[in-house]
């Protein structure tokens, strides 16, 4: 804010006296902003961007960015996220326009700093959206976050963040698959779990969480089928269900083996491998991993 006031004063002084005398909408917007009258500042800056005399000037968009950024900050704690998100988007567009008008200008660094702040709020809001299972909004916010980072910090490797976001997304899908809720189709949730973990593994095939959780997802599906089996089932149904369950355990195995290869001393993975092999009726191998687990426990 302090930096903005200094820049604003300098820019204000640069405006020709005659023009200043006419109290142009940008200057008036700035004055309203300094007086903390954000609604008035917004009204005036919108007049400016609608006026061909001002909408090609960098500072018009720069000030607009600040006004909307503050409107966003003021409104982000209220429940009406749509309004808050709209202010943020207006701020982002304004800063981007300011940079586009003068890519080498003195305001670029300040615009980028504001954009970085706004991008961090996008990332946090993407996480909040996932908290409430709002997957579409979460993805939109995360994609926007990535767009801004690509502009402000083009050298940054986005892979770790993308993996983190998708692991969280997959865990939310997984929760809805395990504990179905109204409005969410269980089958679709299950497909999404697999699709999102595959996305992570395409980015990093050595990601231990994705490998482990993918394995558990398949394994638990098999176990859930067994748990829900009626004891009255005849042989034909029993054979059919058993084949289906073995397919799921078989699908879990390569992911759990990969997780083991990545870290052979992880207890959960040893328990997982032992359980999968047991489910696949390979008792000898299951017991071998149990022994490894016991050895690990005794060494700790």
């Amino acid at each position: 804010m302090k930096r903005l006031v200094i820049i604003a004063v300098v820019l204000f002084m640069m405006i020709p006296g005659g023009l200043r005398a006419q109290l142009d909408p940008v200057s008036l917007a700035l004055r309203a902003y300094q007086n903390k009258d954000l609604p008035k500042a917004r009204e005036l800056i919108e007049i400016a961007v609608g006026d061909d005399n001002f909408n090609g000037i960098t500072k018009t968009w720069y000030f607009r960015g600040y006004i909307y950024k503050d409107l966003f900050k003021e409104s982000k704690d209220v429940k009406i996220k749509k309004e808050s998100f709209g202010y943020r988007e207006d701020a982002i567009e304004s800063y981007m326009k300011a940079v586009a008008l003068e890519p080498q200008g003195e305001l670029v660094e300040d615009c980028f700093n504001s954009l970085k702040y706004l991008s961090s709020t996008l990332y946090n809001d993407a996480a909040f959206a996932l908290d409430s299972n709002n997957f579409t909004t979460a993805q939109e916010l995360f994609d926007r976050y990535k767009e801004i980072i690509a502009m402000t910090n083009p050298d940054m490797d986005m892979t770790p963040r993308t993996i983190e976001f998708n692991l969280y997304k997959a865990s939310k899908y997984s929760q809805l698959f395990d504990n179905p809720r109204e409005g969410y189709d269980k089958e679709e949730m299950g497909q999404q779990v697999i699709a999102v973990y595959k996305k992570v593994l395409n980015l990093d095939s050595n990601n231990i969480s994705a490998n482990y959780n993918m394995a558990i997802h398949f394994y638990n599906q098999g176990v859930n089928i067994i748990e829900n089996m009626d004891y009255e089932q005849d042989f034909e149904t029993l054979f059919m269900i058993q084949a289906q369950v073995m397919d799921l355990f078989g699908a879990a195995l390569p992911y759990m083996k990969k997780a083991y290869k990545l870290n052979p001393y992880r207890k959960e993975t040893l328990v997982g491998l032992s359980g999968i092999y047991y489910g696949l009726n390979d008792i000898e191998t299951s017991e071998r991993y149990q022994q490894e687990l016991k050895k690990l426990d005794s060494n700790q």
Partner: protein, 161 residues
């Protein structure tokens, strides 16, 4: 963002399948008239998870209109009259004492292990292509005065006459 880890379901998957097989074995086996009254007793040796499954079933299901009772035997001496006994054990030496005692009754002996079908058990669980299946010894059904249906025979992976 905290994404945590999916919890693994720790259910004993084999015990559930085995208990379902065992219930199906009882559907396709006929016991002598004296065994068609009173409780239907299933004995379990060395497999707590299977016993728990069967005990859960016994609360709601009947077998051939008889109440299901599950008995766990910790030694061969404890073995009493059963309709069916499942004996878990890695070797014939471990299983045989229980089987021998069970033969005093018209008891269907079920096991899981290599070679058990040759003279010890009438039904033996085997693994075929990762699936739990069973093989049977018809002579041992006959020696216990048990009548086995063709369905059970047809679905067995191996039948010893």
């Amino acid at each position: 963002m905290s994404y945590g880890q999916t919890s693994m379901n720790t259910m004993n998957t084999r015990a559930k399948f085995k208990s379902m097989y065992i219930l199906n074995f009882t559907k396709y086996t006929e016991w002598p008239a004296a065994y068609k009254q009173g409780d239907f007793v299933i004995g379990v040796v060395n497999d707590d998870d299977l016993a728990k499954n069967l005990e859960a079933i016994s609360k709601t299901k009947k077998i051939n209109s008889q109440n299901l009772i599950v008995k766990r035997f910790a030694s061969a001496d404890q073995v009493t009259k059963c309709h069916l006994i499942y004996i878990a054990g890695k070797s014939a030496g471990e299983v045989e004492p229980y089987a021998e005692k069970s033969r005093q009754f018209n008891c269907l002996i079920v096991t899981e292990g290599n070679g058990m079908i040759n003279g010890i058990a009438a039904i033996n669980f085997v693994v075929v292509g990762a699936q739990l299946k069973y093989e049977m010894n018809k002579a041992l059904f006959k020696s216990q005065d048990l009548i086995v249906s063709n369905t059970l025979e047809n679905l067995a992976t191996k039948v010893i006459n």
